[in-house]
């Protein structure tokens, strides 16, 4: 689109009645063609627009010009005088009256380019057959297009030890490097991770890290390191996980959308023989530009994991799960769910026969099962936060029609009524370009003068947002962070930290410095809120009040890819699919009529939230649970979740891989991972990111996992068929059908949506203030990007670049508590302790920071939630228990 509209008018004749040069443009001649180019444009870009390809290595449109490789030499004439030597077209801007001759028309430029190519190839090894870049290598291609056929260099080539790992993920081959500095410039400019740099001089000049230079120190520990592999124009940086996997001609490239975070980043999945071999960044200037984070890039083997479920499973009389046909599994699931829904009691449900050894009696009701009591009735739905919009919509419709309940909550994390109220007021139904409800976009972040991040650590929780914030900060935007310490994200975006004691963030927001308040009142200012604002009671309200006070635009940035779509699809207790409030009779009627069920009364009882559903199931009120992709360790109270799953009569699990939930499930229905289905992720902007099926699981070896045909279907199809067994039609057989219906329903509920906020605000229950007194030490915490999540399985290289978990305290607090940097300290909560090395940081005094989830060497995880610790809550720290240094620590 842009290429066509920006195409400058060009003429081949020097006629006198040329139109005047447009404002801000200059007129020059390239290869005898007269062209108007915007002032300040690089010659190489103007050539591109004319369709003239000038060979280049160092030039990249998103990086600052460097002129490092000299491959793009062209002949330039200024004011009628030719410049004495050919000039690098990637660093020289256009000027009025300039005459440029590229290799197409100038023998001098062509010879210069061939000479540069010969120089670049002098020390380049003949590795092409064994090099991973072979077949898609700009050096290979341009050596053919603009190099000499014969080399005159017969001497010994310079050699280095290779391959040299500069991180667990990235391998460096210094012999192949042409010193274009794309990687160092990317790291410095785009990612802000200055871990790699040019070292040495002359023939020994090379790329390296502190570790390669001195033998010890930091290696390439960046969340964005994979991008350097992709932009390396030779095979100098290669991926350890893709090493020798395949060749470009083996691979089928399918565009897709990032599934690990809410960025909606465009990706390209390269696959062969039914398995994804690598993921590359796709190009989308409005979303991720050309970058993705390493989690999106390297975490894809979970679809081939050994614990993938390939067939429906039904728990037999022996208490174990057995393979079943779809028909059998769906019939059984339907009959169990009907019985649970209607409170008929479940006959012969041999569920929960697993040992209850680790079951701790949580509720007084447990253990008195034989006493007469109200029969269990109803089914709660916990779909998890990773669904596509279509699957989320199917879940929402399934809960309302097939199960007759509003007990559905996709938020597998800490959440609150306050959050729902805030989201209904500021987020639901918004999107980029929506006439009535335009949302904040990546572009708006870039053009904003001021951005304030609240309860959001962008690098850990939304890495693509961080890249855009950094780009904005480099262009002059002031990015402020309401947080506890100068995290890498704070440093990378300019270092403006508004320090707040955890738990007291609302107070800090109410009393922001005057100049920040004023800056937020300026047009275009943006407030970004993370999902963990729900950790702190009152924080969402304070953000809402701040937005109303200053007029700044608000955007909500959740962590998981499906959170935003689930919200719009009504997978939260107070909202209906389409965004109307459950409490609003008009909204229910509108929804019923959109569903073609006019006259039918949709369930009106407000739903329970995740904790409410789990508590009801654990207390024996709910008879059944339908659980999607939920990891129990992620929940605010994993013990309660385990109790609920054990206590529920019926558990139906829709899962991709065996999990704690499937262990306790009566029926397990395998669902397709994103690569085996089409769908839409609605990203944090509210932008719909559609993607087609990457690998069609129905044909050939494509659907095989470990030699077994994997018959998995999208959630919407499974739920549709399950509903049919329960005598309800959802009309969500395919993602396309579901998407079309969801669009129709959302349009029908436009009016109801604007009224939803009022209904939610009225129904809101303020939780009792539990905090008594001022705790001696407070905990600050959030999750790190790579922390042993379920989708990171079988990725040892990726896990190797995870940031090591540390306990962080201020130097004063460390002195007071007797903690020594590098030594182990224990973080103690009501339900256990966690030992990590100590690091000093600029935290407020009497505050301790620790990651919310810490992977353990045995493959398990410890979450602070499981220890009974919450952000803003009290914590105890024990120091000096084990005098291990960082190097020796097991973490």
């Amino acid at each position: 689109m842009t290429a066509a509209s920006e195409r400058a008018p060009e003429r081949t004749t020097q006629d006198e009645d040329l139109p005047p040069v447009p404002e801000g443009h200059v007129r020059l001649t390239i290869d005898d063609r007269i062209v108007d180019a915007p002032q300040g444009e690089l010659i190489i870009r103007t050539c591109e627009r004319l369709g003239i390809v000038v060979p280049r290595f160092c030039d990249h449109p998103l990086l600052d010009p460097a002129g490092a490789c000299r491959q793009c030499l062209v002949e330039v004439e200024m004011n009628g005088r030719p410049m004495p030597k050919p000039q690098a077209s990637c660093t020289m801007t256009v000027a009025d009256g300039m005459v440029v001759k590229t290799q197409m028309t100038s023998a001098v430029a062509d010879k210069a380019q061939q000479g540069v190519m010969e120089l670049l190839l002098i020390n380049h090894p003949l590795d092409c057959p064994v090099c991973d870049k072979g077949g898609e290598c700009p050096l290979q291609n341009q050596a053919m297009s603009s190099g000499r056929a014969e080399s005159r260099f017969v001497e010994e080539k310079r050699t280095f030890a290779k391959p040299l790992p500069i991180s667990d993920e990235v391998l460096l081959d210094r012999e192949r490097c042409v010193l274009c500095q794309r990687c160092t410039r990317f790291s410095r400019q785009i990612a802000g991770d200055q871990f790699i740099e040019l070292l040495e001089r002359g023939a020994h000049q090379q790329i390296g890290t502190e570790e390669t230079a001195f033998g010890e120190g930091e290696d390439f520990q960046s969340y964005y390191s994979g991008n350097t592999i992709q932009i390396c124009p030779v095979g100098a940086l290669t991926s350890a996980s893709y090493r020798f996997r395949s060749r470009p001609f083996d691979l089928v490239s399918t565009p897709g959308v990032a599934e690990h975070d809410s960025s909606g980043a465009s990706v390209r999945r390269d696959w062969r023989r039914g398995a994804v071999q690598r993921v590359l960044a796709g190009e989308d200037p409005e979303v991720n530009e050309e970058w993705i984070d390493d989690k999106t890039r390297f975490a894809f083997r979970y679809t081939q994991a050994a614990d993938r479920i390939t067939r429906p499973l039904v728990r037999g009389a022996d208490g174990a799960l057995h393979d079943a046909s779809w028909t059998e599994a769906l019939e059984r699931a339907a009959s169990l769910l009907i019985a649970a829904r209607d409170g008929l009691g479940v006959s012969g449900g041999p569920s929960q026969t697993l040992d209850d050894s680790d079951a701790t009696p949580l509720t007084p009701g447990e253990g008195e099962e034989d006493t007469e009591r109200e029969p269990k009735r109803g089914v709660g739905v916990l779909p998890g936060g990773r669904l596509t919009v279509e699957d989320a919509y199917a879940y929402g419709k399934f809960a309302r029609l097939a199960l007759g309940t509003n007990d559905v909550d996709a938020r597998a994390r800490v959440s609150s009524d306050e959050e729902l109220d805030f989201l209904a007021a500021h987020v639901v139904g918004t999107g980029p370009g929506h006439v009535w409800a335009p949302s904040v976009t990546y572009g708006a972040l870039e053009s904003a003068r001021t951005v304030l991040c609240v309860a959001l650590e962008p690098e850990e929780e939304a890495p693509i947002v961080l890249l855009r914030l950094r780009k904005a900060a480099r262009a002059g935007t002031r990015v402020h962070h309401l947080g506890q310490w100068s995290t890498p994200a704070v440093v990378k975006t300019g270092g403006h930290l508004v320090r707040a004691v955890p738990g007291e963030e609302p107070v800090a927001l109410d009393a922001l410095p005057d100049e920040l308040d004023a800056a937020l009142a300026a047009p275009g200012a943006v407030i970004l809120v993370g999902e963990r604002a729900a950790d702190v009671p009152g924080l969402y309200d304070a953000v809402g009040a701040l937005a109303n006070r200053t007029g700044a635009k608000v955007a909500w940035v959740p962590r998981r890819a499906g959170e935003r779509g689930a919200l719009d699809a009504g997978l939260v207790p107070g909202l209906l699919p389409g965004g109307g409030a459950v409490a609003d009779a008009g909204a229910r009627a509108a929804l019923a009529s959109a569903w073609g069920l006019a006259g039918t009364e949709l369930p009106a009882t407000p739903g329970r939230d995740l904790t409410g559903i789990l508590r009801a199931a654990a207390d024996g009120e709910l008879a059944g649970l339908v659980v999607g992709g939920v990891e129990l360790d992620d929940l605010p109270d994993p013990a309660l979740a385990r109790a609920a799953l054990r206590e529920a009569d019926v558990v139906v699990s829709l899962e991709q891989r065996h999990s704690e939930v499937t262990e306790l499930a009566d029926v397990v229905l395998p669902v397709a991972p994103v690569i085996h289905k089409s769908g839409t992720f609605r990203n944090w902007e509210g932008r719909d990111r559609r993607f087609a099926t990457t690998i069609d699981p129905s044909g050939g070896s494509a659907g095989h996992v470990g030699g077994r045909a994997a018959i998995t279907l999208p959630d919407c199809r499974v739920l549709d068929t399950l509903a049919v067994e329960m005598d309800v039609d959802l009309f969500t057989q395919t993602p396309d059908v579901a998407a079309a219906e969801f669009t129709r329903v959302a349009a029908a509920l436009t009016d109801a949506r604007s009224a939803a906020h009022g209904h939610l605000a009225a129904a809101r229950q303020t939780p009792a203030e539990e905090r008594g007194g001022e705790p001696a030490l407070r905990l600050a915490s959030w999750r790190q990007l790579l922390d042993g999540g379920r989708l990171l399985v079988d990725e040892p290289e990726l896990a190797g670049t995870a940031r090591p978990p540390r306990i962080r305290v201020s130097p004063t607090t460390a002195t007071r508590l007797g903690l020594v940097e590098g030594a182990m300290a224990g973080l103690e909560g009501p339900r256990g302790a966690l030992h990590l090395p100590v690091e000093l940081a600029d935290l407020p005094d009497d505050v301790v920071w620790a990651p919310a989830r810490v992977p353990q060497p045995d493959g398990g995880v410890v979450t602070l939630a499981a220890l009974g610790l919450t952000h803003g809550g009290p914590v105890a720290v024990t120091g000096g228990q084990r005098d291990l240094t960082i190097e020796e620590s097991p973490a």
Binding site: C128, P129, V130, G134, G135, K162, P163, R243, F244, R245, S246, R247, F249, D250
Partner: protein, 188 residues
């Protein structure tokens, strides 16, 4: 109808009776092929037994019939199959598809893949006609050692490529490529 018309029909028959027969007495007598006949492929070895194949997939790339499947693997100092970084971990040629054009051996950068004069490529099971690496690898000649083993003939792969044949002569072992005609059953 003339008198001899009935006999004239046998003209070709009678004249052929006195020519040399074209019938071959295969399989009792096997025909010797031309020296560069495009027969079954062979993956050659370096003089110390290491594989020449580097798993580059150029043969698969060149193949017009999509008969070759290769997956590369990473050599380590502990487990080395070829000199250099990379070796062919999986190598399959599907003789149901192979048209014997020889483009693959032209593409091979290390002269690992060559063709023998072996032409007896019939079978009664389709699966058996997918030859894997074990069946394609050249047999171990005297002086060769079954990989994996360290490089015996030099410090790095350059020594193998540049001085390999010379070293082989000094070590008094055969470079298998020079013996390819003798190895085939037909020539024997």
């Amino acid at each position: 109808m003339g008198l001899f018309d009935g006999v004239a029909g046998f003209g070709v028959t009678f004249s052929t009776m006195f020519r040399k027969v074209v019938t071959e007495d295969y399989p009792r007598v096997k025909k010797v092929t031309a020296p560069r006949y495009h027969g079954r492929h062979q993956l050659n070895r370096h003089p110390d037994g290491l594989e020449k194949c580097v798993g580059c997939e150029l043969c698969a790339w060149a193949c017009p019939a999509d008969a070759i499947y290769v997956e590369g693997g990473d050599n380590t100092d502990e487990e080395r199959y070829s000199p250099g970084e990379r070796y062919g971990a999986i190598y399959q040629i599907n003789y149901l598809r192979c048209i014997g054009c020889g483009l693959c051996i032209e593409a091979c950068p290390t002269r690992s893949l060559t063709m023998t004069n072996e032409y007896e490529l019939a079978d009664d099971d389709r699966q058996d006609l997918i030859y894997d690496k074990e069946r394609l690898l050249a047999p171990l000649l005297p002086g060769m050692e079954q990989p994996p083993h360290p490089m015996r003939l030099g410090e790095d792969e350059q020594d193998y490529y540049v001085q390999g044949p010379e070293m082989a002569r000094r070590r008094d072992v055969h470079d298998s490529t020079s013996d390819e005609i003798d190895i085939s059953g037909a020539a024997r």
